[in-house]
């Protein structure tokens, strides 16, 4: 076993254990952890199963198979970051709506108070 393979296995296992632990402690919601879990598992499988890594590397024209691990990790990261951008957009939209509703509710509350004290 090459040193690079040992390193790759330890690294993917680290991500997997870390993500699972964060979910277990309630610090990471499952819906946001799915992509992390998927990337950790795929990287782990490719690190342990050298034959599969070599076959895919040959098929996509990567001369040094361990470099394929970087490509796969990079693609997963792109996906995760894009996923975050979508989530941020949705959260900021919801935040805007909430803030507007709060401002309107405060106004209504004041108007009702004014009417009440007028009686």
């Amino acid at each position: 076993m090459q040193i690079v393979q040992v390193f790759a296995i330890i690294f993917s296992l680290g991500i997997l254990v870390g993500v699972v632990d964060l979910i277990r402690r309630g610090m990471l919601k499952e819906q946001y952890a799915l992509l992390w879990l998927a990337s950790a598992i795929v990287l782990l499988v490719l690190s342990m199963w050298r034959g599969l890594l070599d076959t895919i590397a040959l098929a996509v024209g990567v001369a040094y198979p361990p470099a394929l691990l970087f490509l796969v990790a990079f693609l997963f990261l792109l996906l995760i970051v894009l996923h975050f951008s979508v989530i941020i957009s949705s959260i900021s939209e919801k935040n805007k709506k909430l803030s507007q509703e709060i401002a309107i509710l405060k106004t209504l509350f004041e108007e009702y108070k004014k009417k009440g004290s007028g009686n």
Binding site: K96, S99, T107
Partner: protein, 233 residues
């Protein structure tokens, strides 16, 4: 009788807000006025409250688009028939509001834009600004199939249908141009009417020379993206 809401978004407009509100009250005694205080650091909110109009304080500075949308949300919630956008900086003379509202009363349009370039023109912007405005007018007119001369005018009146649409769909950042495109996509009828505008009474324009290039690019880009968006009425 049509219920009218005048929406006045204000960000640090303490210098001019009282004059604007007083003038609107005088011109439209029957209308409700809602000032949207967009996180002002000055006395804008207190001064407006002092005149007895409704004030909605946004919890932080959200930008003109979100502020205006808050006003439309309020109008939609309370079933107003007509909403009028009037800037807090004194650019929009309240004696012109009836020109905007009249076509809505006669059901000639869903939204009326007050244009500085129609009728007796007394507005002479700098060359660069004029060029930018011409480009917007051209792009919007071609894209929407409706000739619009003053796309960046924020002096507007909207009927109930548009109020409901804007409550859920209002662009952010520099919303005036985009709002036209979105409305046309949703099938609303927009017309322009000549209005007179004043030089701003107080405060500083949000569009500094440095920002104007960003403004151009951002608005044009957003307008093209809007054409690709799914718009539901």
């Amino acid at each position: 009788m049509n219920r009218i809401l005048v929406i006045t978004p204000a960000y640090n407009e303490a210098e001019s807000i009282e004059d604007v509100i007083s003038a609107v009250k005088k011109e439209l005694p029957g209308a409700d006025i809602l000032v949207i205080n967009d996180g002002s650091a000055d006395a804008t909110s207190q001064l407006a409250r002092g005149l007895g109009v409704m004030v909605a304080d946004l919890p932080y500075n959200m930008g003109i688009g979100a502020a205006m949308q808050a006003g439309y949300r309020y109008a939609a919630m309370h079933g107003y028939d007509i909403a009028v956008q009037v800037d807090a900086d004194g650019q929009h003379p309240p004696d012109q509001i009836n020109n905007l509202v009249a076509p809505l009363m006669e059901q000639k349009a869903d939204m009326v834009i007050g244009s500085r370039f129609l009728g007796e023109v007394k507005y002479y912007p700098s060359f660069a600004r004029h060029l930018g405005m011409k480009i917007f007018a051209f792009v919007v007119s071609v894209m929407t199939g409706r000739k619009i001369t003053d796309t960046t005018s924020g002096f507007r009146a909207a009927n109930k249908g548009v109020i409901r649409f804007f409550a859920d769909n209002y662009p952010e950042d520099y919303p005036e141009v985009e709002a036209i495109v979105l409305l046309r996509k949703a099938g609303f009828n927009i017309i322009e009417t000549p209005v007179r505008m004043e030089a701003r009474a107080g405060g500083v324009s949000s569009i500094t020379p440095l920002r104007s290039l960003y403004y151009m690019v951002k608005v044009l880009l957003s307008v093209f993206v809007d054409m690709l968006k799914k718009v539901e009425r």
